[in-house]
């Protein structure tokens, strides 16, 4: 008899190990590094975020004169959120970032 | 099996300067003639693990660094080569594990390894132009 059989039989009566995403959602834990969001009111334009970003994903938005993070390049390391002196940038728990519109792949 | 000061003792007649950083890190500089003799002396003392060979372009010279694991000490044996004609003797007969590292050295920095059993390219493409060495300072960005 194969040695693994008892385990296999036990698993027959267990709940499935997988979750039926997207019908059932698992919330990421506290402190998850998802989409960075920028609070424009708080930003004091020190540009520390631009200097610390290791992948140069942050640029200045010409209209609002505030930072804009291109999510196509962002590696979600959270260095900008750590560097920001006024905590204008925070890492949210949002992780479903796929989009058809390139304009939406930005965090401003 | 050898601590830093024991390693220094073994190789002292083959090297010019020895810098003992701590119990587990030794840096030494040697020249082309005595390099192999130093390695043979270490091999006598049951050093069998060559961690890697690094090549560094220092601008006017190319430095080849052999990292030998003497457990717990790690010896870095440096060899300064002129940039116009960098060449070293192969050490694959002493440490057979060096075979890939020497091929890497040849194609990335243009150091000629004499007597290497298999001097083909390792990483670079076959149509990579000859005489262009990507890790040299003058290589285009």
């Amino acid at each position: 008899m194969p040695r693994i059989l008892p385990q296999v039989l036990r698993n027959l009566f267990r709940r499935p190990a997988t979750v039926k995403y997207p019908y059932v959602r698992v919330e990421p834990p506290e402190g998850y590094r998802g989409r960075p969001s920028i609070d424009k009111e708080r930003c004091i334009r020190c540009w520390l975020c631009i200097r610390t970003c290791p992948v140069r994903a942050i640029t200045v938005n010409k209209e609002t004169k505030k930072p804009s993070i291109w999510l196509g390049r962002c590696v979600f390391c959270g260095e900008c959120a750590e560097a920001c002196p006024t905590r204008a940038i925070i890492m949210t728990r949002e992780f479903e970032l796929a989009t058809y519109d390139i304009q939406q792949a930005k965090s401003e | 099996m050898m601590k830093a000061n024991e390693v220094a003792e073994v190789i002292k007649e083959y090297v010019d300067e020895i810098k003992i950083e701590n119990v587990r890190r030794v840096f030494a500089t040697t020249d082309e003639e005595r390099c192999r003799a130093a390695m043979l002396a270490l091999k006598q003392r049951d050093v069998q693990h060559l961690s890697t060979i690094s090549g560094v372009d220092r601008g006017d010279a190319i430095t080849v660094v052999y990292h030998l694991d003497c457990r717990p000490a790690l010896l870095s044996l440096k060899l300064n080569l002129p940039k116009s004609t960098p060449k070293v003797q192969t050490i694959t007969d002493i440490f057979p594990g060096a075979i890939l590292y020497e091929r890497d050295l040849m194609e990335m920095l243009g150091v000629k390894v004499e007597g290497h059993p298999d001097p083909r390219r390792l990483f670079l493409a076959d149509d990579w132009p000859a005489g262009v060495y990507p890790l040299r300072k003058e290589a285009k960005k």
């Binding site: - | 961690s51 660094v65 990292h67 670079l124």
Partner: protein, 383 residues
């Protein structure tokens, strides 16, 4: 009369592109050759063009699976260059993350190995339990895989006291599961038939070819950077170095599974002994001319970083020697004399990670022509 069987670059067995050339005589393999460089990203050169801080995230991306090992080695090297001491708490947190990574990497490998021999039930079970570790990693570092928790001079995130019970609970579950898997792997007929006695790497060859990590420990060579060159908190923690004398694929399976148990043991000690104190030390952006070497026992073996600074905020040179690179010469004694059917499992048995190996050159290109089969011919074949 020998034939040449080309395998790769697009692979049936591995998920990464690499070209292998087997010379076979009937069923028997008589010669083996490898062609590297299909996933070159020029990382060693790129490391010279970025600042020390930005390099952390580049080194993290050399390998996805052992990213903590890479950043630990990189940070360690730069800390030695600058001559700063890492706070105690940070060293313990690094140890915890390194060990969790080892558990998940070994489980991932064991799953793949089971899949390679066609034992998909075991593959699913391994990967189900691997999720437990990934959940822990997500909780501690904020991401399942790329942890981004190491930084120059320490770590960026704390292991909070409320995490500790959950970590201990999960480790207990994992320990039980792993013991069961060891039991299965040492007694199941299918596994014994496919793994015992094949792909043998004799002890002499393992020493001579400078192999590293579980590959060489499975051949009876007692070598482990965690003990031989202790970094982080390993000097203060007691653990055994696992070795097996046989050198075949089964020995590699057992070494890795027993290492999971040992890692659980280490993590438990580190979590319990977690000292209080600051998380990071200050580091200046510019580093005086110096040189340093950092070594880490990554899940696949010894990982070596050699860095030279020149007084600016960018390194003069960073050399990265990844474990798979050191293990490639040992493929030859493992393959020669074996049969074609063994290729996938023996290939997988060193836990190859080719993205790690190919990181030096500047471009990535197809092999204009190889001696065996050119790219054009390959295309024609496909059509």
């Amino acid at each position: 009369m020998t034939f040449v069987v080309p395998i790769g670059p697009q692979h049936p067995a591995l998920k990464e592109p690499e070209y292998f050339r087997f010379e076979v005589k009937g069923e028997e393999i008589v010669d083996f050759d490898v062609r590297l460089g299909y996933v070159h990203r020029g990382i060693e050169r790129a490391l010279q063009e970025r600042s020390y801080l930005h390099n952390i995230y580049l080194s993290e991306r050399i390998c996805g699976i052992c990213n903590v090992a890479h950043t630990t080695a990189y940070c360690q090297t730069i800390e030695q260059l600058a001559g700063i001491e890492v706070p105690d708490r940070a060293r313990f947190i690094r140890t915890i993350l390194c060990e969790l990574e080892r558990i998940h990497s070994h489980m991932l490998w064991a799953g793949i190995a089971a899949h390679e021999i066609g034992f998909d039930t075991l593959f699913m079970l391994f990967w189900r339990d691997r999720e437990l570790v990934l959940d822990l990693k997500e909780m501690i570092s904020g991401n399942r895989q790329t942890s981004a928790s190491n930084t120059l001079g320490g770590v960026r995130r704390d292991v909070k006291p409320e995490y500790v019970p959950k970590i201990l609970r999960t480790l207990e579950k994992l320990e039980k599961a792993t013991e069961q898997y060891i039991n299965i792997c040492t007694s199941d007929r299918t596994i014994l038939a496919r793994c015992a006695g094949i792909g043998v790497l004799p002890k002499d060859d393992a020493k001579k070819l400078c192999a590293v990590g579980p590959t060489t420990r499975a051949s009876g060579v007692d070598i482990d950077i965690r003990r031989d060159d202790p970094y982080d908190a390993y000097g203060q923690i007691s653990f055994d170095v696992i070795t097996e004398p046989d050198g075949d694929v089964l020995a590699k399976v057992i070494v890795r599974l027993r290492e999971i148990l040992e890692s659980i043991h280490i993590t438990r000690q580190a979590v319990k002994a977690l000292p209080k104190g600051p998380l990071r030390a200050k580091i200046t952006p510019k580093i005086e001319p110096n040189e340093a070497i950092g070594r880490v026992e990554a899940p696949r073996g010894e990982l070596l970083y050699y860095a030279i600074s020149n007084g600016t905020d960018k390194p003069e040179r960073v050399r990265v020697r990844t474990p798979t690179y050191a293990n490639i010469p040992s493929f030859k004694p493992m393959f020669v004399g074996g049969t074609v059917a063994e290729i996938p499992i023996v290939l997988a048995s060193i836990d190859p990670c080719f993205a790690c190996t190919d990181r030096v050159a500047l471009v990535d290109s197809h092999t204009g022509k190889t001696r065996v089969l050119s790219f054009k011919e390959l295309r024609r074949w496909k059509g």
